[in-house]
């Protein structure tokens, strides 16, 4: 093919040349060009290679339906595969290259695939590659994978930004053709908040670039722009419709405009919620199915018109059109005036309308009716085509072929309304047997259609349909008070389609789906093999599964299946379109939730102090917590051993601000806690705290923590860091739904309090300095007691004497804004006493030594009995979980029980090890249980662990192995009581 730039015409700015490269070659175009139009103007014929056969392919279309012209765009730091050349606007420095070919676009060795063509028919891969051994597929697959695939993914992180906005409007208008513009203007005039979008850079839709319509289009746009309540977004694609009139839009912001600031996003995701949507999405031209219809140089007939009118490009020097309807005759003389050399038109119909005839007469081109194109000659470009008499009833050739010279063939089998957005919400498309096309069908009430998507193919009807439809919608939205009945225009059959689904009787591949190389024969095979349903057809042949999502192929494929089955199209049914309308970048969908912004980060009041102190931070849900504070060249183990040892020797301090904290308030608060926890709280005196164990309704442990009675009707509940939000939600459900009679109010106060736990033999000494007015004497401030006080610097504190570490210990809370000051004051008070900050590792060490359980042990399958807390449950008062906790499975003696393990050697016990009697046993080998937590115990000077072990309590004193088969490590252990240290609690009770 030999496209060229016309002397005049198009919406390009001939004073603004643009230079870019294609496959390394410098090419020039103009501002307003797309990559496709500029290449076409430069005589480029070959644009890509097909998926399966690697056949050479040219440009097919002018829009987002393009199946062939896919390119990779590379910038200094960016790499974007599979960009449609028809949608890429030309800018200086644009660097595009062709894909899926090796070594080059014109010489692609994989096109050898075609030789095996007949063997590579639909579904061939289901029938072979199964031998000689069961592993064979992995061998073949490597080659198949390399041959398949289009562009290559980038190797380096994408430096571009993406962003998301939520927006709201009364009305969304999708499609900026005459229908969309008309509807948007009318709605704006009535005061509706309107958003009008179009996927292209310029508005006008089908009529874009048509000199006769340009004034109308410009004037409509200007008038809409004048309204503050209207927003116009070009280069914006509505990719999907979701529940409750929520629409997903992607706006391309910087690609066409390299001068945008560095802060501008490359794309912007709009999550748009509207009261109604008018879908004026237009229609897409349908290819004809005949042998050689994929040769470079064969393209959609209307694309030839559009390239001339929009870009001032003629697609060829000697163009022939091949059609079966009157639409292809539109504007023939206008094109001829521009210098587009259309020399013949081949029509499968024997008669054409007078209007079409007049167009032919005005141009003097050759008209060949009752004929079909039967072959396309030339491999990398058309040299000539063969035509022959055609019987539309049998779709067969019934006469001799003759050749017509040409270098470009435009084909058109009719128009298919773009019903994707209507179908996504389950709208069932309807076949219109007059228009021979599919229409959107009944709306679910969230959308309306007008223009050609609604079946109006006449220009004036398009506008009229927009006017009546928008009126109907405005009334629904109470924005119009007019009463006169609305009558939509009649759908006129202006195209006079003589439906032709394929040209038969001549050999050669006739393509239905260009990108995926699905031919008419493939559909026949699918039919033969019983893949009769449309969905089976699609899946078996991969019809419509390419990046063009079947925009060009679906209807032809459907019709061919109907033909094969001898049924009409509506009986065969249509497939449901899935979002998105056109592919959407991952970047746009992820927007700014990238890198460190994937999820929010929660930091305690002391966070930066920890960082300054050299803490290594660890994620605990969304929180960051200090894991260890390494000194010098310490490794992780040395650091936590030091922290734990110093805590037991003098004082340790740990940030416990992340614990969940919930205020439980109200006259029925105590009764509520009685029901929520498995143990009783009603009798807890004011000023005391108690450990509570919470079960789920099914009797499994849900959470634990201490709850403090601040006064008669006011409790402060603490939860684990991980479960804080879930526990609140859980309790709110009971208060709202199951026990609405209880007068209790819950408030999350996790973020309001900062807290430090201080523990160790010298803790009282230190606290007495820091909080001088409080009496820390054993009797004055007994175990589990709560005291309020203030530090020497006047910081208010609320304290409770409770211990997770087994040491004499206190939790000290203060309003979060004083958290850092309190933390520093405690440190300075403890300085002389070797106070040490410790992190989650030492916290773990200290609690393991005491046999306290955390979520490693409470894994959602653990009962209270399993961790030795069955006895503390209330016997009289029912509580959540009490009814189901005694089911047979919970009494099964095989159920695990918490035990301690002591390594019998110098080797550490690895978490995740399983307990077995003999590690030398061959698999499968029964696991008796597993190690849930493990540490080096500085107190015992041994490696110890906690484990859940079948019938564990009875195995205390036995020797087992903790085996870690994935590393081949087996450690001999002795089963012991889970409390390793100070079982009587003398240290914490003082």
């Amino acid at each position: 093919m030999s496209g060229f730039r016309l002397d005049s015409g198009g919406q390009i700015d001939r004073n603004q040349p643009r230079t870019f490269t294609f496959d390394g070659r410098k090419v020039s175009g103009f501002a307003g060009d797309t990559l496709a139009s500029a290449l076409l103007a430069n005589g480029q014929t070959l644009f890509g290679r097909s998926f399966k056969y690697h056949r050479p392919r040219g440009l097919m279309s002018v829009g987002s339906e393009e199946p062939n012209a896919l390119v990779t765009l590379t910038g200094p730091d960016t790499h974007e595969p599979n960009a449609r050349a028809t949608m890429v606007e030309v800018v200086d420095g644009l660097n595009a290259s062709s894909q899926n070919r090796w070594p080059s676009l014109s010489v692609d060795l994989l096109s050898a695939n075609q030789i095996g063509g007949p063997m590579l028919q639909a579904g061939f891969y289901y029938k072979t590659f199964m031998g000689p051994t069961r592993k064979a597929w992995r061998f073949y697959e490597r080659f198949i994978r390399r041959a398949a695939g289009l562009g290559k993914a980038a190797q380096k992180p994408d430096p571009d930004r993406y962003e998301k906005i939520n927006s709201f409007a009364d009305l969304l208008v999708v499609g900026g053709g005459l229908a969309g513009l008309t509807a948007a203007l009318k709605a704006a005039e009535k005061g509706a908040r309107v958003i009008l979008i179009d996927e292209h850079a310029r508005f006008g839709g089908y009529h874009r670039g048509d000199p006769r319509e340009q004034d109308t289009i410009n004037s409509l746009l200007e008038r809409i722009q004048a309204f503050d309540n209207a927003t116009i977004l070009p280069r914006t694609t509505c990719f999907g419709q979701y529940d409750c009139s929520t629409f997903g839009l992607v706006e391309r912001v910087t690609a066409h405009n390299p001068t945008e600031t560095e802060f501008a996003p490359c794309e912007r995701l709009h999550v748009l919620r509207v009261r109604h949507a008018i879908l004026a999405t237009g229609a897409i031209e349908r290819p004809l199915v005949f042998p050689g219809n994929d040769a470079p140089g064969v393209m959609l007939a209307d694309a030839i018109r559009a390239y001339a009118l929009r870009f001032g490009v003629s697609a060829g020097k000697n163009i022939v059109l091949f059609t079966s309807h009157d639409g292809a005759y539109r504007q023939l003389s206008a094109l001829q005036d521009l210098g587009v050399p259309i020399n013949a038109i081949v029509d499968t119909r024997t008669t054409i309308s007078d209007i079409a005839m007049a167009q032919v007469a005005a141009t003097g081109m050759q008209l060949i009716t009752g004929h079909a194109v039967t072959r396309v000659h030339g491999y990398h470009g058309i040299k000539r085509v063969s035509v022959a008499p055609f019987d539309p009833y049998t779709s067969k050739i019934n006469g001799k072929e003759r050749a017509i010279e040409c270098d470009c063939l435009g084909m058109s089998g009719g128009w298919t309304p773009s019903i994707h957005l209507t179908s996504q919400m389950g709208g069932v498309p309807e076949w219109d047997s007059t228009l021979h096309t599919v229409l959107p069908g009944k709306s679910n009430g969230t959308w309306s259609v007008c223009g050609s998507v609604a079946g109006y193919f006449d220009r004036d009807d398009t506008i009229a349909s927009a006017e009546t439809m928008v009126e109907e919608v405005l009334r629904k939205l109470s924005l119009s008070r007019a009463r006169k009945a609305v009558t939509h225009p009649e759908k006129q059959d202006v195209l006079n389609v003589g439906p032709v689904w394929s040209i038969k009787g001549i050999g050669g591949k006739a393509f239905v789906d260009f990108q995926h190389d699905v031919t008419a024969d493939d559909i026949t095979i699918a039919h033969q093999e019983g893949f009769l349903s449309v969905e089976h057809l699609k899946r078996y042949t991969t019809l419509g599964m390419g990046t063009d999502q079947g925009k060009l192929s679906n209807i032809n494929g459907l019709a061919l299946m109907a033909e094969a089955r001898g049924l009409d199209i509506p009986t065969v049914g249509t497939t449901r379109f899935r979002p998105p309308y056109t592919p959407v970048s991952f970047g746009a969908l992820a927007a700014d939730a990238r890198g460190g912004h994937l999820q929010p980060t929660r930091r305690t009041a002391m966070h930066y102090w920890h960082l300054d102190a050299g803490a290594e931070m660890i994620d605990a849900g969304l929180w960051k917590r200090p894991r260890v504070y390494r000194r010098g060249s310490e490794d992780l183990e040395q650091a936590y051993i030091r922290e734990a040892r110093m805590t037991r020797q003098s004082i340790g301090i740990v940030d416990v601000s992340t614990l969940g904290k919930i205020n439980v308030q109200g006259p029925d608060a105590a009764q509520f806690l009685d029901r929520v926890y498995s143990n009783g709280f009603a009798k807890l005196p004011v000023g005391k705290a108690r450990y509570g164990l919470m079960l789920r309704e099914d009797g499994i442990v849900y959470d634990d923590g201490t709850t403090w009675r601040l006064d008669d009707t006011n409790f402060l509940m603490t939860t684990t860091t991980a479960q804080a939000a879930a526990v609140l939600e859980h309790m709110e459900l009971y208060l709202s739904v199951h026990w609405p009679d209880l007068k209790v109010h819950l408030t999350s106060v996790t973020d309001q309090w900062a807290g430090a736990a201080v523990a160790g033999p010298k803790v009282r000494e230190m606290l007495q300095i820091a909080i001088p007015e409080t009496d820390f004497d054993n009797e004055a401030f007994p175990f589990m007691a709560i005291r309020h006080g203030k530090t020497s610097q006047g910081i208010p504190v609320m304290m409770c004497r409770l211990s997770f570490s087994g040491e004499m210990a206190y939790e000290v809370y203060t309003p979060a804004r004083f958290g850092l000051a309190l933390w520093e004051e405690l440190h300075s008070a403890g300085k002389e006493m070797d106070l040490v900050s410790y992190g989650t590792e030492a916290l773990d060490t200290l609690r393991i030594e005491k046999g306290h359980v955390v979520n490693s042990e409470l894994n959602g399958r653990t009962t209270a009995e399993m961790v030795g807390m069955g006895a503390m449950a209330s016997k009289k008062t029912p509580y959540i979980g009490s009814a189901m906790k005694d089911r047979p499975a919970f009494k099964d003696r095989r159920r695990h029980q918490l035990v301690g393990l002591v390594s019998k050697s110098d080797e550490c016990v690895l978490i995740g090890s399983h307990l077995v009697r003999n590690p030398a046993l061959k698999t499968p080998c029964l696991s008796l249980g597993h190690v849930t937590s493990a540490t080096y115990s500085p107190a015992l000077e041994k490696y110890v662990a906690l484990a859940l072990l079948e019938n564990g309590q009875e195995l205390i004193g036995r020797d087992l192995y903790a085996t870690f088969p994935m590393k081949g490590i087996h450690v001999a252990v002795e089963v012991v009581d889970p409390c390793f240290f100070d079982k009587d609690g003398e240290r914490m009770r003082g």
Binding site: P81, N82, M119, R134, A148, F586, L589, F890, I911, P924
Partner: protein, 419 residues
């Protein structure tokens, strides 16, 4: 039925591909069968196949309301693995894995089972410890599992973002090398073709509208193609279980139907070679043989039969994708869709005799049903043929919800949305 082979392809190619047979017949329903399986999905078709192959029961009908494979076998992310921690699950899914390993040959249908490995990423030391517990349990069962540290993860999947700047840095992973992916539709078609070959009637466009009952016992089905009698009726209708069982008079089941979305990208040259899950949330992805990235995340978390989801989950899934692969930002999502998951209340399946005489139930697959297809069919066939479960599915009862022997892999409790 002609065997499929490269030879058959060549022979047919030479004769213009005119002589392929229908892969399964389109028979008319008979008035009665020995067994009726409701549901022409992967599980139902596999059940029928194994009834004939393993138990010699050939007089079987599979009734399907639409086209076979139209449920979740036709819309999933194709992951096959057996890396479950709890014993009943591990043994069952491993049995499935072993069936997968010879499935193409047994069915004479290339299901493209590709053992490219499934790598679960750990984003915290605690998560890695949990993986260690799981992986070691697998190894003791004789199932493959490897624990990878950071460096090994980098070597295995060099495309992953291993930098410390990510919100949840990767600390390691659990790899099952034998796990992988398969061509999802091919499972349904392969089982259908093989079952048909063994004499089983596959009745498409045959919707069950009610059950024929004799007292409590179920003795047949009413369908849009007439009444069909049978003493044994198996229900394998994932996504529609509650609905179909209601027609038999069962009003309540430990199942909620939720929508799970899945996604596929535009086709690419090989970009990731293995199945990876993780990202600091719920995300999993592989690349298909055609080059599309196939991925998904969490369920939408509300009851739904709509086969389509909403934007919040779509956005979440893509944030997790870019957390793992920031270089993929300019790749594009080509299509997304939703499937209906029977979320059981403990996250594990039900393959059981009952709950009514004559009725057998296969349900509650949450979103793990695809990989289970062979073993599910195998065990269900065994249960139907013998009127008693096989040891492999003995734990998958309905009764467990009463007795407390629930199989809660995630420890999430009796909340469908959390499994």
């Amino acid at each position: 039925m002609a065997r499929f082979s490269a030879w058959a392809l060549a022979k047919n190619a030479l004769t213009g591909n005119q002589h392929w047979d229908s892969q399964w017949r389109k028979p008319e329903p008979k008035p009665a069968y020995d067994v009726i399986i409701i549901g022409g999905g992967g599980h139902g078709l596999a059940t029928a196949f194994y009834l004939a192959k393993e138990h010699g029961i050939h007089n079987v009908a599979v009734v399907e309301k639409g086209w076979i494979g139209s449920g979740n076998v036709g819309r999933n992310t194709t992951i096959v693995r057996s890396n479950y921690e709890l014993r009943p699950n591990a043994l069952f899914y491993e049995h499935s894995m072993r069936l997968w390993e010879g499935l193409s040959q047994v069915l004479n249908y290339n299901v493209m089972f590709s053992q490219r490995g499934v790598l679960n990423l750990a984003h915290s030391p605690g998560e890695l410890d949990a993986f260690a517990t799981r992986g070691n349990a697998l190894r003791l069962h004789g199932i493959d599992a490897e624990l990878l540290d950071r460096n090994e993860v980098t070597r295995f999947v060099p495309q992953l973002d291993m930098s410390a700047e990510t919100r949840f840095p990767i600390v390691g992973g659990l790899l099952q090398p034998r796990a992988g992916t398969a061509r999802h539709d091919a499972i349904a078609w392969g089982y259908a073709r093989a079952a048909d070959h063994l004499g089983i009637d596959i009745l498409e466009n045959c919707e069950v509208t009610g059950f024929l009952k004799d007292g409590d016992a179920v003795v047949g089905v009413q369908t849009t193609r007439g009444d069909i009698k049978s003493a044994k009726i198996g229900v394998a209708v994932a996504g529609n279980t509650s609905d179909v069982m209601r027609k038999a008079g069962i009003e309540n089941l430990p199942i909620e139907s939720h929508v799970l979305q899945a996604f596929v990208s535009e086709s690419l040259k090989p970009a990731v070679n293995t199945v990876v899950t993780g990202g600091g949330g719920h995300f999993y992805m592989s690349q298909s043989d055609k080059g599309g990235l196939v991925y998904g995340g969490n369920i939408d978390k509300y009851n739904s039969y709509a086969q389509r989801g909403n934007l919040p989950v779509i956005e979440d899934v893509h944030t997790l994708m870019l957390a793992l692969y920031p270089q993929f930002a300019k790749l594009r999502m080509l299509r997304h869709w939703g499937g209906i998951m029977d979320m059981s209340l403990d996250g594990s399946p039900i393959i059981t005799k009952g709950p009514l005489p004559g009725l057998y139930l296969n349900a509650g697959w949450c979103y793990g049903g695809f990989k289970a297809t062979p073993a599910s069919g195998w065990c269900f066939a065994h249960t139907i043929a013998n009127d008693a479960p096989h040891a492999l599915n003995a734990a998958f009862t309905l009764e467990r919800f009463n007795s407390g022997y629930t199989i809660d892999e995630g420890g999430a409790g009796p909340f469908a949305k959390l499994h």
